[in-house]
């Protein structure tokens, strides 16, 4: 375990930002911290880094107790902020040198790490340009790069893909995998389930200041009882086809509109293939898809609310 948070409480006035939060971070993993806005993700990571004090509980990082005055722990931690916080009046390379210097790198060691990070984030050719000349995606990459110069053991990424185009987002997600492959433990906070599904080994779902569920993606989805929705376009729709589909074990409901069939089936019933076989016997399948349960469904089941913006479900 590289870090742990036990029974952590943090209040802002009457608001309970962290409500007896328990969180474990295993070494080498990419831990996804998923939750809607206001769930406490940012408060959790700020207390983990030691940027804010907690009211009670225990936080340990690298085996030491974390606190706001423990600057030594921070030498091996990195933070990628949600907002772009690089210095726009300095060039990309000057930014990297400064942040490397803040973490104790000097001389040839600093220069070699700066060069390495410039290559990693794909900004070698733009090293002497100021971030004000960069696209949004390039600025995001520099924002990440500044947290990597000192080779942190634990990297915290606070919603690093907010407001960028899909191509840049994918580039960042791939970069996170590479960072983890080099041995850095990553805590990745987001409210986009697609991101945690794409890159995280383990996911902790937060809401109202506490972890409400955690595990791998399969473990989390397996916890909820949900239905699969199968959508099919049949080549030759008929009443006989409809009756045969209804007769398949586990099928709960069939609704037909022209060639379009929407079939509700029990989760993991394996009925997709059975329904295809039945439909092929009745003239063939034009198109068939199955909507699997996802983290949105997990959150909805656990809280009664949607994951996006914490709105009512």
């Amino acid at each position: 375990m590289i870090a742990s948070m036990r029974n952590v409480v943090k209040r802002y006035g009457d608001t309970m930002a962290l409500d007896h939060l328990d969180l474990n971070i295993a070494e080498g993993e990419i831990l996804g911290l998923l939750g809607p806005n206001g769930a406490g993700k940012t408060t959790a990571i700020r207390s983990l880094i030691g940027l804010i004090s907690i009211d009670s509980g225990e936080i340990k990082v690298f085996g030491e107790s974390q606190g706001i005055n423990n600057t030594s722990i921070r030498r091996n931690m990195g933070l990628v902020t949600q907002e772009i916080t690089v210095f726009t009046e300095l060039s990309a390379i000057e930014n990297l040198r400064y942040f490397g210097g803040l973490y104790g790198l000097k001389g040839a060691d600093l220069e070699s790490n700066v060069k390495r990070v410039l290559e990693f984030i794909g900004l070698t050719e733009h090293a002497k340009k100021r971030p004000s000349k960069f696209s949004g995606g390039m600025q995001r990459r520099l924002n990440i790069g500044c947290a990597l110069v000192h080779r942190p053991k634990l990297l915290i990424m606070d919603e690093p893909t907010v407001g960028i185009d899909p191509q840049s987002r994918n580039h960042i997600l791939e970069s996170v995998k590479l960072i983890a492959a080099e041995g850095t433990t990553v805590v990745y906070t987001t409210h986009y389930m697609e991101e945690v599904q794409a890159i995280c080994n383990r996911i902790s779902i937060m809401d109202s200041g506490r972890v409400i569920a955690e595990g791998t993606l399969d473990e989390l989805i397996g916890r909820i009882h949900h239905e699969d929705t199968i959508r099919m376009i049949a080549a030759s729709p008929s009443d006989a086809l409809t009756e045969d589909i209804k007769a398949v074990s586990g099928v709960k409901n069939v609704s037909v509109s022209g060639n379009n069939y929407v079939i509700i089936s029990g989760a993991d019933s394996g009925n997709l293939n059975r329904i295809m076989e039945v439909t092929i016997k009745h003239g063939g399948v034009v198109n068939i898809t199955a909507d699997k349960s996802n983290l949105e469904d997990v959150f909805l089941t656990l809280t009664g609310r949607k994951l996006r913006d914490g709105g009512e479900g």
Binding site: R46, L51, L79, T81, L90, E94, F99, G101, L102, Y103
Partner: protein, 265 residues
């Protein structure tokens, strides 16, 4: 030291900042001296071969701008610690006090260089006298520290950056204008206020220290006698005012420490 260098570099690379803080006061000195000399019957007054007009005006404008340079502290503090960048910087193994001290050192160094530059240009191009160099440099350093401490206090108390910067600039004006040394001659008939603006403000202490150490003595208008009085070289007056200015700076620093412990930001 690395952090101090970083902040000094950021002060140097801002073209608008350089224009306002360095080139503008130099330009102001040139314009003021030229206008004033041209308006004088018989031309400029020389004292021991030096231009009285250029010496007075260069010193006044240099001191005036030095007291405004708390804006450096305000600018850097707000840009780094009043937004999300604060979290990134504090996530590094450096304390907030280390950053603030570095901003102060960089700003003091920048301010001192600017003050020396103004006086050097005035001495070379306009035949101004630089007074006692030791006193001049020491007073410039003390004012620079005072201004950064004042800027820190303002940053702690005021939420908006623009307002905080305006306070730093207006603070300088509100010390200088009532003294009658700049823009208008003001006759203050209230004795206590007259004494305050002509003897007790940090501006008055700085000007008395510098001018008393040089060939011209104290140039602050003396409303009691109603006439400009030259005291000549007077190191005891210079040292006394340097001492009171230093004490004022230390007192302000203590206030800042007290306020910072009561405020979260």
């Amino acid at each position: 030291m690395m952090i101090t260098k970083h902040y000094f570099k950021r002060l140097l690379v801002e073209p608008i900042g350089l224009a306002i803080n360095v080139f503008f006061p130099v330009l102001l000195v040139f314009i003021n001296v030229t206008v004033n000399v041209n308006a004088m019957e018989g031309g400029d007054t020389l004292f021991s071969g030096y231009s009285v007009t250029a010496t007075s005006i260069a010193t006044l404008i240099m001191v005036m701008f030095q007291f405004m340079y708390g804006t450096h502290m305000v600018d850097l503090f707000f840009r780094d610690f009043k937004n999300s960048r604060r979290w990134r910087l504090l996530a590094a193994p450096a304390s907030l006090s280390k950053y603030l001290f570095s901003i102060m050192m960089a700003s003091v160094f920048f301010s001192v260089l600017t003050g020396v530059l103004i006086m050097a240009v005035a001495a070379i191009a306009l035949n101004a006298h630089v007074h006692n160099p030791f006193v001049l440099l020491t007073v410039i350093v003390i004012i620079a520290v005072f201004s950064q401490v004042f800027g820190m206090l303002v940053s702690l108390l005021i939420r908006k950056k623009g307002v905080a910067e305006a306070v730093c600039v207006l603070f300088s004006f509100f010390m200088i204008v009532p003294s009658g040394d700049f823009l208008v001659t003001i006759n203050i008939n209230i004795h206590a206020l007259n004494v305050f603006f002509n003897y007790m403000t940090p501006y008055a202490q700085a000007m008395r220290a510098i001018m008393a150490s040089g060939i011209m003595g104290n140039s602050v208008s003396d409303n009691f006698g109603g006439a400009l009085q030259y005291m000549g070289r007077d190191m005891s007056t210079a040292l006394l005012n340097m001492g009171t200015l230093t004490a004022t700076t230390i007192l302000l620093a203590i206030i800042v420490v007290i306020v910072s412990r009561r405020r979260s930001f």
